[in-house]
């Protein structure tokens, strides 16, 4: 047994992990979510805004991290629409533009048809330049964005006519997959201009890097799919109290099923590995 495990081909581990993720998906296992203080803080930041307040929706991610960040983007957009906020979508990642389109197609068009493009939401699109873009638009937005993503001049868009900079935003909602992302928004937008507040949803890889910013520089953060599931539960509890929640607003919760089983496997493997190590050391000794 010891020798078999010691020389186990790593592909068996891959197979086990594949099954640990695939089986809960096939059987659609779900578990309840209890929101933590960070998810609550994120929810409260948006909840404290008033109808008509301006919110910058910075979608800095791409299809590679859609599985982790897509549910956050959906919940953020839904929450802001329910609050009747004015949404300014922007992307610092080339494919972020398509992620914005996805959010509009998934949330705004079917569930908030009364929201009018150019009056309630606008897609400013992608702009190359990473943190350089933030550095400019924090004081002069029309300089870098003469038009929206459709090529319409900002002066022809009602909600953009008096828009000078992102300091006019009540809140920045950032969904971040890496560079440029939340770190750059904190460094170039909210730290130098403390009146500009930000909440973020980020990948698991990034989350530990942002904890030092909480709460002064980053009042709210959703870390990975777990944060998304907690926030999703809060939004659903507030805006779908009757319980009939559309499936698209339960994506994060659904994706927590594979997480639980895969993490149990991971813990089991770590314990097994350690036991093998100590047994091996004793045998050698």
């Amino acid at each position: 047994m010891y020798d078999t495990l010691q020389n186990l081909d790593r592909r068996w581990i891959f197979l086990l992990m594949g099954l640990a993720v695939a089986v809960p998906i096939l059987f659609q296992l779900e578990f309840p979510e209890t929101p933590t203080s960070l998810a609550q803080a994120t929810f409260d930041e948006i909840e404290s805004l008033r109808p008509g307040d301006r919110v910058l929706m910075a979608w800095d991610y791409d299809p590679a991290s859609e599985g982790e960040l897509g549910p956050m983007a959906t919940s953020f957009a839904r929450h802001c629409c329910e609050k009747r906020l004015r949404l300014y979508f922007i992307a610092l990642w080339p494919v972020g533009q398509q992620m914005i389109d996805n959010t509009i197609e998934k949330v705004i068009r079917p569930d908030f048809p009364e929201m009018v493009y150019g009056e309630d939401y606008v897609n400013l699109g992608f702009k190359k330049g990473e943190e350089g873009v933030i550095k400019v638009i924090v004081t002069d937005l029309p300089n870098l964005y003469p038009t929206d993503a459709r090529g319409t001049g900002l002066n022809q868009i009602p909600m953009c006519r008096d828009l000078e900079s992102i300091q006019q935003m009540k809140l920045i909602v950032n969904v971040s997959a890496g560079y440029p992302g939340t770190k750059e928004w904190v460094q170039y937008a909210t730290t130098p201009y403390p009146n500009t507040r930000i909440v973020a949803g980020c990948t698991g890889v990034q989350a530990p890097l942002f904890y030092p910013y909480i709460p002064e520089q980053l009042p709210g953060m959703l870390g990975a799919i777990k944060g998304a599931a907690e926030y999703e539960a809060l939004v659903n509890a507030k805006y779908s109290p009757a319980g009939a929640v559309p499936a698209k607003y339960l994506e994060a919760k659904r994706r927590m099923g594979p997480q639980l089983v895969a993490h149990l496997l991971m813990i089991g493997l770590i314990i097994t590995g350690n036991v093998l190590y100590f047994v091996g050391r004793r045998r050698a000794g």
């Binding site: 993720v21 096939l26 659609q28 702009k127 870098l144 990948t203 890889v205």
Partner: protein, 298 residues
């Protein structure tokens, strides 16, 4: 050994053939792997099979092809877990090539056209690229000649002669970028972090005036952990005696931090695997229907 390898190949071939036959069967009988579109206010958007069944959407050859290509590349990427192989190499090369081309095209249309050519000659750009652009030059439009010249100098690197010309704009980019980042890091990560670390060790509940124990313990632990980590990185004093013990605590704090970061990374990677499997099971093979897109079909 050779015989064992050949047997392994035969098993994989048999399994692959069976899987393929099953996929073709599902596709032929219930339409698995089909994609549909509908026209909404003059815009063609994705539709569900149920909408197609109700007659408001139609079968899309192009989207279906895209779906199968995506499934193929997903499986090609997964195949690396078994061993390196030509199919994986092919998928890898395609992704690198497509990404580079995509970046180039996006860079041209989102930066060079609106932010350079659009500033130098807005009337011309308005006629063929950006109808929404105001066709009037800004007061200091000629300053954009500087980035134009620098851009041309940068591309000089591709020339067989005078490659050194490209170093000048590169120096400017590196210098300005380093300066910009230095200020940002000093402000947001150095000064602000010092400020954020100054916390009261004993926190009082504002309403009742009693000690808020959880918050007090959190603050105290945070400050002590930070000091222990700083001592670990303080190499001017030998790590012996009290300093050595505190630095040991610092190592433990660092290890816990790395462990938490690893845990988060694992969660992220599992989420990525989950979404790919969900794509295969839902969009491609129609084995599950979590969003109810095929209600009344399979």
């Amino acid at each position: 050994m050779q015989m064992q390898e050949s047997r392994g190949k035969q098993i994989w071939l048999a399994l692959g053939t069976l899987a393929l036959a099953w996929i073709v069967y599902r596709s032929a009988t219930i339409g698995a792997g089909s994609a549909y579109v509908q026209n909404l206010d003059g815009e063609v958007v994705s539709a569900t099979p149920t909408e197609a069944m109700l007659g408001v959407a139609e079968f899309s050859q192009l989207n279906t092809l895209g779906l199968w290509v995506a499934a193929f590349f997903t499986l090609a990427a997964f195949s690396f877990m078994y061993r390196d192989n030509p199919i994986y190499k092919f998928a890898e090369s395609i992704i690198v090539g497509v990404s580079a081309a995509y970046w180039m095209v996006i860079g041209f249309w989102s930066t060079i056209v609106p932010n350079l050519l659009g500033k130098l000659d807005p009337a011309w750009i308005q006629t063929w690229a950006m109808p929404g652009l105001v066709p009037v030059r800004e007061d200091f439009w000629w300053t954009y000649i500087v980035p134009l010249v620098l851009g041309v100098m940068l591309l000089w690197r591709l020339s067989p002669r005078g490659g050194w010309i490209g170093r000048w704009p590169l120096a400017l980019v590196i210098g300005s970028f380093a300066g910009m980042r230095l200020v940002a890091f000093l402000h947001a990560d150095f000064m602000s972090q010092i400020s954020n670390s100054i916390q009261p060790l004993i926190e009082r509940d504002e309403g009742e005036g009693t000690i808020d124990w959880p918050e007090s313990v959190r603050n105290t632990l945070g400050i002590l952990s930070m000091l222990a980590c700083l001592v670990y990185f303080f190499f001017s004093v030998p790590h012996r005696g009290a300093v050595g013990k505190i630095s040991q605590v610092g190592i433990w704090v660092l290890m816990i931090t790395f462990g938490a970061a690893f845990g988060y990374t694992v969660m992220g990677r599992i989420a990525l695997l989950a979404i790919r499997l969900e794509f295969l099971f839902d969009d491609w093979l129609w084995l599950i229907d979590p969003l109810g897109r095929r209600a009344g079909i399979s």
